[in-house]
Assembly symmetry: C2
Homo-oligomer: 209 residues x 2
Amino acid sequence: MKQDNLSYKMYLVTDLFGGTEEELLGKVEKALEGGVTLVQLREKEADGKEFYERSLRLKKLLDRFHVPLIINDRVDVALAVGASGVHVGQDDLPLKVVRSLVGDMIVGVSVRTVQEAQKAVEDGADYIGVGSVFPTSTKLDAKGITKEELIEITESVRIPAVAIGGITAENIEKLNGTGIRGAAVVSAILKSQDPKKAAEELNEKLVLQ
Amino acid sequence: MKQDNLSYKMYLVTDLFGGTEEELLGKVEKALEGGVTLVQLREKEADGKEFYERSLRLKKLLDRFHVPLIINDRVDVALAVGASGVHVGQDDLPLKVVRSLVGDMIVGVSVRTVQEAQKAVEDGADYIGVGSVFPTSTKLDAKGITKEELIEITESVRIPAVAIGGITAENIEKLNGTGIRGAAVVSAILKSQDPKKAAEELNEKLVLQ
Ligand code: NI
């Protein structure tokens, strides 16, 4: 699915944060009402069956809002549920392999350097996730990159770049003017008491060129 | 790949046991010389990239012996490396989904009851793995089944059944007469000082009807 009208602006990445799936779906629904444009389901612990079933339920919700579902890491799950795309990191299946498996599905890849960004383009990525822009504890191994590095990366490729890592209402404006096409957010929305308002606020503060 | 001449008799399931990949490949090569007929790569900890790369190296070795490679759990990895098949448990992607993704690849599924075995057949499995026949610590959650249950299961389906779980040279003969078409072995081969001899001995002691 190459969606030319696809917006990466407010990209929600899920995390159960020790809660239930029902709680997660409730929060995601609020976040969608608040203007989230894309949702990635990330499941680092779940077995395949659980991942698959949660993906189906999340997709059903997203379909109501016409918001695309991106599956993290498990290409088979993405294919199985008919997701709009798949997102892989540098330690996941190689991008070229992913592309060969998914045809024209959206494929995103996490990068930290200009070299990785350019390799992503070469290997067929539709977008890159760049981070961690504000190092956080969500991903313990997420290495930080500076604002200058972020700009260098966004300028080095023609595909959309999405910033990720520790983005909150307090720091998101620092990303304005960096050339990104969107911000990927986890805690700032899902840990908020009011995910709808949180998404709206983040959306407002992020100004894309 | 429906291989009518496929033998499930001596089915090696891998485990690194804390060793290196090089050590594993060395042991698998010896085991192949000892008559292993099928190899499953099981990676519960590895990231996608590592799983993929190890699969490619293992497949290269198996191809020399014309022995099929079965990938555990990750259907995407199986597709990516052109494996002969994929094996899933009850907590992995549902069998029907797996079948729809892999076409005519060999698909195996772990079962513990007649009901699960018959469901496996309905959902398109090519073979079933039945166990744990001799409960062990390799899979901490493996529940034991009795010899009578094993016989009941093998008699309930027409597809090949492979016994798994704690099978050693000391107990493999107890499986004779149960209607299985093979034994899946991990430690008894890979923890042996002489994997070739271990495979030969197991192979000799297991008498299929
Ligand atoms: Ni499409």
